[in-house]
Structures are given as structure tokens and as C-alpha cells.
Subunit: 349 residues, 4 copies
Amino acid sequence: MPPAPARWFASDNAAGAHPAVLEALVASNTGHALAYGQDDWTRRANAAFCELFDRDVEVLFTFGGTGANVVALSCILPPAHAVACSRWAHIAVDEAGAPERFLGAKLVLLDSADGTVSPDDVAGLSTLIGSQHHAPPGVLSLTQTTEMGAVWGVDALRETCSAARALGLAVHLDGARIANAAAALGGRDALRAMVADVDVLSFGGTKAGAVYGEAVVFLDPSRARHAMNLRKQATQLPSKMRYIAAQYEALLAGDLFIELGRRANASATMLYGLLRDIDELDLGLPPQANSLFPRLPSTVKERLQEWSFFWDWDPRDRRVRWMTAWDTSDDDVMRFADGVRWALEHADN
Amino acid sequence: MPPAPARWFASDNAAGAHPAVLEALVASNTGHALAYGQDDWTRRANAAFCELFDRDVEVLFTFGGTGANVVALSCILPPAHAVACSRWAHIAVDEAGAPERFLGAKLVLLDSADGTVSPDDVAGLSTLIGSQHHAPPGVLSLTQTTEMGAVWGVDALRETCSAARALGLAVHLDGARIANAAAALGGRDALRAMVADVDVLSFGGTKAGAVYGEAVVFLDPSRARHAMNLRKQATQLPSKMRYIAAQYEALLAGDLFIELGRRANASATMLYGLLRDIDELDLGLPPQANSLFPRLPSTVKERLQEWSFFWDWDPRDRRVRWMTAWDTSDDDVMRFADGVRWALEHADN
Amino acid sequence: MPPAPARWFASDNAAGAHPAVLEALVASNTGHALAYGQDDWTRRANAAFCELFDRDVEVLFTFGGTGANVVALSCILPPAHAVACSRWAHIAVDEAGAPERFLGAKLVLLDSADGTVSPDDVAGLSTLIGSQHHAPPGVLSLTQTTEMGAVWGVDALRETCSAARALGLAVHLDGARIANAAAALGGRDALRAMVADVDVLSFGGTKAGAVYGEAVVFLDPSRARHAMNLRKQATQLPSKMRYIAAQYEALLAGDLFIELGRRANASATMLYGLLRDIDELDLGLPPQANSLFPRLPSTVKERLQEWSFFWDWDPRDRRVRWMTAWDTSDDDVMRFADGVRWALEHADN
Amino acid sequence: MPPAPARWFASDNAAGAHPAVLEALVASNTGHALAYGQDDWTRRANAAFCELFDRDVEVLFTFGGTGANVVALSCILPPAHAVACSRWAHIAVDEAGAPERFLGAKLVLLDSADGTVSPDDVAGLSTLIGSQHHAPPGVLSLTQTTEMGAVWGVDALRETCSAARALGLAVHLDGARIANAAAALGGRDALRAMVADVDVLSFGGTKAGAVYGEAVVFLDPSRARHAMNLRKQATQLPSKMRYIAAQYEALLAGDLFIELGRRANASATMLYGLLRDIDELDLGLPPQANSLFPRLPSTVKERLQEWSFFWDWDPRDRRVRWMTAWDTSDDDVMRFADGVRWALEHADN
């Protein structure tokens, strides 16, 4: 096989941290700073978020993404209510039941092909409301970029949010890959428009180039009333918080996170362009952000995974996931495309 | 007042990261590494822990200390049982109810002056066993170094563990400051002896000089059967795990964590030595590790806190806490002692 | 319209208690008896269950059916695991999230038309096992009679149980209407065969003719190890337990519960027979136990509901539920059939 | 020994149901009635509660007392808050951790000799408020009659409630034995005064002469907003609710429950009067309601328990509990007193 790329197409969390982000972390390692958020980095990062969203947001840093989601949901879910989300939602599929356990709540799954949810399906939740036998949905949790690599258009997102509002539901947006979506939709203005109807946002740092650290952003600060205690109760209160805040300062400075999202997206588009002419390869839809979900014959798949690792996605469907990251280089993409082409050509050996 | 020290005596989590630890984190930022623990740093750190304890331990890294405790407890607590601990235990006092929420369990508090628990008080838990009306204790959770700055002697710790065993309880050791205890008791051999009767240990990294990251160490690996799923469910599965593992590699190399614990302890002892001749100052007992709990007149206290911050401990008792860290310098200690002496001398102005 | 029947076809829990059951409750109201199960009625009812199942079962009485299910599941679900069940399961649809809240666990829904689950769908759960990102299924919960009125044949039930066993799952059977199933399949022998691969059974009393009270029957008594504490923790420990035990004694004496199930089933069959000739009426499948799920034009439906109440089932499908009870008389059935016929004939007015 | 009494002094839940209450249950067994509270008995019982408290209360029936407490607390506890209660509270001592599990919340125990709590101790909870490291108390749960047999005076109760209000806490009253307290304080007017500052009351039926069934009474109906769903989620929604409602109708008719409480109290007072002259018997304080907590030599205790059973209370203190019930007769009291006297006189044999 041709030489393997320097970086895998396994996941954006296999990537390292961006140098500017890591430098900011290192630079914050200076003397003593009070723990638990009473430090200058945290204050500055909060201000940077207010500026980013052009309004008075309340920000709570957490260690990880599942933690951010769980904290966010716990702040807006009324007692004895359920969380509605797509059947592909990370909170439903990939968090090992953490939301059910911390919230003590049911997740109601809505049908979805690409991780988005239609306003009609949200409206259909009305049948669960008003009976003491059902846990009525109290929150709609959406994901942007979705787990299937789709990017909600601003209007589509707002229509689905409106359907939720019409039923009295609060809206959570899982933005573990919000950077890729912001980049795909044109940047900071699109980001602001995207969250117009969102109560609380999980703003991803780790997949966008950080070492660790996520941010729970309350677009509606009144929702943050019990947030600090809930964060601690969810085991998500970082003691040396400056190290997370410093990374976010770097990510937000000059919209670096959007630039990094843009790079990852461009690599996925480039990969798609290099392979789309191969008739026998079902690449799926063109990437909207930083992932492709091709179908591969299993011998080809296994040979490729040994050569440069990536994850199976849906074994029943023989789909895999190729995901780019902020640090995927053009050379990585070209080598990977070469390898795929080579493996398909030598599929029978 | 005299010039303030460069570092506070507020907490060991106000300290930064040790250069070697931070360098290890930075050095691990090289290319792609699979997430969630499937990386070389994690493998090496696991091996280092086996070597440290001289047995086959199972190690799970977590983001933070409350998370480590909650994961550890969830792995060893039988259904419908309670956790017994001292009334000063961090899990009981300072974790905002995280254990109760994640475990769905009651904490039964045992009387204690200094954070240690007597074998007799443990034996007294027998009255809660055998009735369907009570949640029987299933785990005894101890802390070393205790929240009150006490260091369990190896024999005392083992006697209390034995009392727990006699009732069929598993034993958890909250070692957020295990480095200080290991240093106080003489190092690696003492550490190994300390955990002889412990099922699972929260091995603190953050307070010992790390940026972030804790380790749940299963001295009895059979207890780790469901640990990986429980960690994820507790929102404590780090995606880019190499950054935590790399820090632990550095902390364990050459027993650096013990050396850092020793430095912090030495600073506390030095501070005590510099101030013990002041008759009107109730310094409390000599420090066993890295903290003193003196009583101060409130005007003196407030003047000192403005000058170089530290925390109140028990307002009813007018006690404060002075805590040293791995980076507290002799100069810091001397300046702080000078300030205290000055403030007491000028108490009336 | 013709005269309405004396009893509704709304639900078997709208029926009262059978005279023999009520008499047993009344007869147990004699002097003092120790609370919480230390009474003679409870001992005798336990013995009657052992005789019924012809083996050494462990029985815990609870107040209600949701409580029985939650207690049963909590006894057999391993830590951090999920419960798999049909998408029609009472635990998933009609318990307001009680299982998620008490268990802290996710429910994984399996596709189903009639409330039964295929061995293949159970086998497909294997994809959720072995990853730290998913809550692996630890229990398969089935319902007999299903919520859609289907009765599992003994062989079909055992095949699905075997598929669960093959994956290492424990099996719970929600038998809120086990009496109807036992009657449909021929009685006591069928009942014994039905539970051959079941770990724990919720044995319904309320719908079978009791005032209140359900029984959690551990076919595998080793699963009951923590059951008494879990029952209390689930708020399901009755203090004056003799009143429930006495009712079960009456229900089990001479297999009264099976006779009552047989009566309810016969009424449903009779109703189906009286209406099957009406071409324009979609009655659904012939009843296997005590319910029919016909489709009705909405004006007809509303007129009938005002006349003799019954519940809508699936509004999207225009299906309603007609359910018979142990006390439904032939006269009730004939009158109800007459009313349905009349309403359909006068549908246009 | 002299002949044993016909009824034990073990507990008021060892007593049966009062004839009028049982008759009401039996009389409600007439034809069909919609389940889950949509029946005439439930409507009438609700109205009777409004009349009893002379205001518009919201009432939810539950199966049992632990269930009533858990439902009540879940309706008034803010997110991430703790429940404060006396260290003798039933919710803390005798409910096997059910509150911690369902609420996911910590219980903060307040010191108490007799089950009452001082306003000062409540005020001291302020130190737990305002820190993200603690679960701030959100509810004060008190018990009337207390678990130690004390009856709060109306003024004392209101002062402690006021201290809770001053900190922003809601107030729950566990009234499993409210009937005895109402009787002790003079009846209906005292009952109304008692709950003047209470948000939600667990109104005991079982110990007051019912077969089963408790009532959660929302003195502030706005607190009941999510109550129906929380009740179902707590597994405490009775299906055939008429049977509980009918019993409450009977208990409230002509203030029967107060009369029954009065009888139990009178028996305890009579027992105290018959034994107070025995110098070597430490009877404890005169009974305020229906229990005494004497100290007995262990041989005397065991001989008496074999003769007519009662429970140990605090083994460390050699205290036992003698408890009367609504059905304790004068003859029972006289025989029991004779037996105690006899056993003490023959203590050495």
C-alpha cells in the first residue's frame, strides 16, 4: 500500500491540541490562582463569550462533553419530565446512560436520518403531555453539527426550536462540534443566529483543538440559577479552572475555533472530491462538516483500518466513519485518498 | 505590613502545575492518539502504577477528585447500601451531594475530631445491618491525609479497615492528598503498607502538582468489573486521555509525587516552627502533613487575608486553615510568618 | 341508544375486587399482627406461591405494579447496565419514567407489533455490549399478557428468553395480567412452563381481582439477596402486610386467579364473536386474552364513550381499547355489542 | 406471669383497621370506577380535606408513608438542594435511604433529643448556603408527633418553621401520627394552627386506623404543580384509588381520626399512671402522645417481650418502646402494667 498519512481519520478527539491553545494553557501556569473559577482567566473567558454571542451569557466550564450536556440538561429540565432528542443523539447513544442516571429521567427518541429532527416530529410529542402515566418532555436536545455529520441550517434549526417552544419545551444544543457548524455556515454571525432560540448550549472545546475542557453557555442566564451547585453535583467542577479558561481564551481570540473548524471541514470536502469519481465506492452524501460515512466491502475496510485506523459506524449497514480534524493536512488527505483507491483496486487479492 | 509572600497559603489547588508534569503534558501533544485510553501514555501510566504498588492494580483515570470518589464508590457499593465515613469527609462535606446523587445512597457519618475514624465507631455500624428499614453500610470511605490535616499511621488505618472487614464492608480510601501522607510516613513502602486493606483508592494528582486528572486505583482488580461503564456514566471518561496519563507518568517517575508532598509538608512544619513561640497564638496541633488550623482574632484574620489570602475553616470556632503546596518556598514561609507576627503585634490598631 | 352495560369496557383496573378476595382481606382484620411481613398471612401466602410454582420461590409483596416492576428490575440489573424491552412495554410507556429514575438506567426499546419481542431482535442487542460508551443491556423485561393483548406461547417466550441468556442478560417478566395468560394457555401447568427461564416475575393481583397489592416472585431466590432493602428504598414496603397477603391467599386458593382470568378472556372472545360479522368494523385480531383494539370512526367512538366509557389507544391510528374484567357479565357483553352495532348503524346522524 | 393482654404494645401499625374504615372500604367495592383518582370517592375525600383544613388544599393519595414523604419532598425541593431534618427523623433513620435515592439528595441531620428541632439549629444551616461545594438545604422536614413520641406545641412548631422561612426553605411535615398530635393539642383547630406555615403535609392514615393509604396534602396548592407525575414516578400512584379515598372519607367523617388518636394517647397515659410509682423503673418522660420509652434490665425486657411483644428502641441505652394504638383497650393496659410489675418483682429469678 502507499505510505500512510501522518494523522488518522478516526476522530477529531484523536487529534492533539492546537499550539496556540496549548501555549495559553502553559502560560497560565504562573504562580497561585484561587481554584474553582475565582481567577482572572475565568473572568476573561467569560467576557470573551459575552462578546462572541453579543449578549450577557453565563458560562460554566466543565471537564468534558458528557458532563457539559448533563449539567446543561439538569438546569432546564422540570421535575419528572423527559428529554426529547434524535435517535442518533450523543446523549442517547454514546453517553452510557449518564443523562438517565444523573437526571433520573427518560430520553424520548425522535426519528431522524441525519441527526436533525423535524418540527412535525417535535409537535408529535404533544401526545405525551398531560397524562400522569407519561413523563412529559420538558427539554428538546438538538446537536449541531449532528452525530451524522449534518449541519442544521439556521432556519431549519429555528423552526424545530419553535415547535419545541410551542409545546413549552426548553431547548438544549449539544455543540460538541459547534465550531465546525459555525465554520460551515459562515462564522460568527451564523453562530449567533443559530442559538437565537436556544436556552443553553454545550460549547465544545476538546474536539475544536483543546487539551480538555468544555463550556456550558447559558444564552438565557436566568436558567443558570442552580447551575453552580448542579455542576459540582455532577462532578464537573474543575478545581484549577484557569487551565480550561485559558484555553477558551485562546480558542475564542480572533475566532480561532471557527478557523480550526473550517480547516477540518475543508479536509473532509477535499477527501470527498478526491474520491467521488470512484463508481464502486458509496461515499454517502457530500460532507457538510468534517465527516464522511462511506460503505466499504469488509476486506477493503479491514485492510484500510490496519493501514490507517478509522472507526466502524453502523456494522449492519457496512458504513464506516472518516473524520477529519483541525490538524488534518492536505498531504494526509491525499495519502488517505490514495490508500482508499489502492485498496479498492486491489480488493480481490 | 511586611512584603507578602509570592504564593498564598490558601490551598494546594491554588498552586500551579510542577514543571516536569506540565512538560510531560506538552510532550504528549504529538500527532494523533486514539481517545478514551487506547493510547501509549495510558498503557505506560498503568504499568507505572503496578510498579508503584508492586502488584497488579487496575487504574482508571478521571478528570477530578469528586469524580474519582464517585466512580470508586459506585464500583464497590452493593445495591441499597450506604457509605459510612467521617463527619469531616470530603465526600460528605464538600461534594455538594454528588455521592448521594450518583449513588442514590445515604452517607452515614461517624464521629471524628481529626478526620480519622476509630475501629469502635466502625464496629458500632452493626446496628444498621440486618433490618429492611435501614440502608446497611456497604463501604467505609476513609481519607488519607484527612481533611483536618491528620495522617493515619499505617497500623491505625489497618485496624479501622479491619473493623470494616469484620462487618463485611468494602474500603475506599480518598487519597486526594495521598502524596503528603506517603511523604509523611516515609515514602513508597509506607504507601504500599497503607493500602494493604483498601479495595479502591482515589489517587490524587491535581493537588500533588498536576494540571488536572485523578486516578482511581483498584488494589483489588476484581472490583473494577463494571468500572469503565460506571466512569462514563459518571461523566468522568476523558476523551484525550493521554494528557492525564502523561502527567501521571511524570508524577510517578522517581516518586516525584512523594518528593512534592514532602516539600509541602516541610513548609508547613517550618511555618509551625517559626510561629510556635507566640503565646497568644493558638496554632493547634503540629502539622502532620501540609496544613495548620490556627485560631485567630477576627481583626487579625481579616487583615492577614487581605494581605495574603487564606480560607476560614470553622467560623464557629474562629479557626482558619493555612495550607502549603508543593511550590511553597522557604521565602514564602518566612514572609508569611513575619506577616502573622506583625499582625498579632499590631492587633489593637 | 340501547341501555348501557352495568360495567365499562375501560380497564380491568376499573373493576372492583372479587368477593372472596375482599372477604379474605376483611377476615384478616383481627387483632394485632406484626407489620412488614412478620405475620401468619404472609407466611402462608409465601407457601402458596411455592406450591403454585412447584419450587422454592421467594416472594415480596408490594403495593402496586409499577413498584413491583421497579423492585424486580433493581434486584437483577447489574451496575451501569440498561433494561431492554419492547417499545410497548408498560415500564417504557406507562410508568412516567419511574424505572429510569429509580434504577438510574436507560431503557432500550425493541421493535414490536404486539408487545412480544423476537429472539433476533434480542440477539441484535449484542452491538451494545463491550463498549464503555454504551450502557450494555443487563436485563430483558418481557410482558405476559402483553400491553397489546397478545399472549406469548410458552415456546415463543422461552426462545426469546434463551436469546437473552445467550447474551448474559437476566429476564424479568411483567405479569400484571399473568392470570389472563395462564388462563389462555390452560392453567397452572402452562404458568409453570412460562416462567421456566424467568429470574423474577411481577405477579399481578390488582387486575386479577384484588383491592390492591402485587407480588414480586423470585423464581431464582438467589436474586433476592438485596430485595428487602431495595423494596423499602423503592417505597414499596407495606406496613400492614397481612392485608395484601390475605388477598393473595384467596387468589391462589383453588387457582381462583386463573378462573378470574378465564372469565375476563371469555368475555372478550364473546364480544369479538358478537361483532365480527360487521364488515365496516375493523376489530383487529381475535382477542388472545381480555382486550380488543378496534378502529372506530371518531363520531361513533365519541358517542359510544359517552354511553359506556372506554379508552382511546392510539389516536394516530384511530384505535381504541375494549377491555374486559373478571366481573364482566354476559349481559354486559351483549349490551355493549348492541350499543356498538347501533352506533355504527346510526353513524351518519 | 399474669395473663397477657389481647393486643401488643409493639406499634400502632400492628393494629388492624377500625371497623368504620374497613366498612367504608368494603362499601366502595361496588361496580366499576375509573382508576387513578377519577372516581367519586376521591373527589369526596378531597372535598373533606378542604373542609378539614378550611382552605383549598390539593390532596394526592399514596400507598404508604415513605412514599408520601418522598413524593411530598420531591415537590418542594429545589434542584441540587438538601433536606434538613432531625437526626431522629423517619426519613433519615427508617426509610432505608429511599429519600436519598428518589431525590438524589443529601439529608442534613440536626441535633435533637426528642425529635423536635430548635429555631437556632435551623438558623445554623445558613453556613451551608451560598457555596458551590455544599448542597444548600432547600427543605426543612419536621415530624408531628415526633419519632420520640413528642408533640410539638403549635407555637414551637411555628417558630421553627419561621426560622426555615427566614433562610428560604420550604417546610414539610411528616404527619404519619398527625392524628395523635391533633388529639393531644385539642382537635381540629389545633390541627389547622399546626400547619399554618407548612407547605406540604404527609397525613397518616395507616397508623390512624386504616388498612393502607396515606395522603399528601398540599397546604400551598401551587407546590403541587408536578405532583401527579412525581407520584407516578415514585411508584405511588394507586390504580384502584377509590379504596384509599373511601377510607379517608371515613377517617375524616366526624373527625374520627382525632378520636382514634385520642384513644391511643389515653392508653399511653393510663399505662404511665399505672407504672409511675415503681421506683426502680425508669419510664422516661410522661407520654405526650401514644408512646413510652422506658429503660429495662435485659432479663426483664426479654421475659416481657416473650410474654407480649414490643420493640427495642436504643440498645446502647437499654431503652424500649411501648406504643399504644387506636384499639388498645383499658384491659390491655391493665394486663400489660400487671405483667411489667410482675416481671420487675421477679427480676432475679
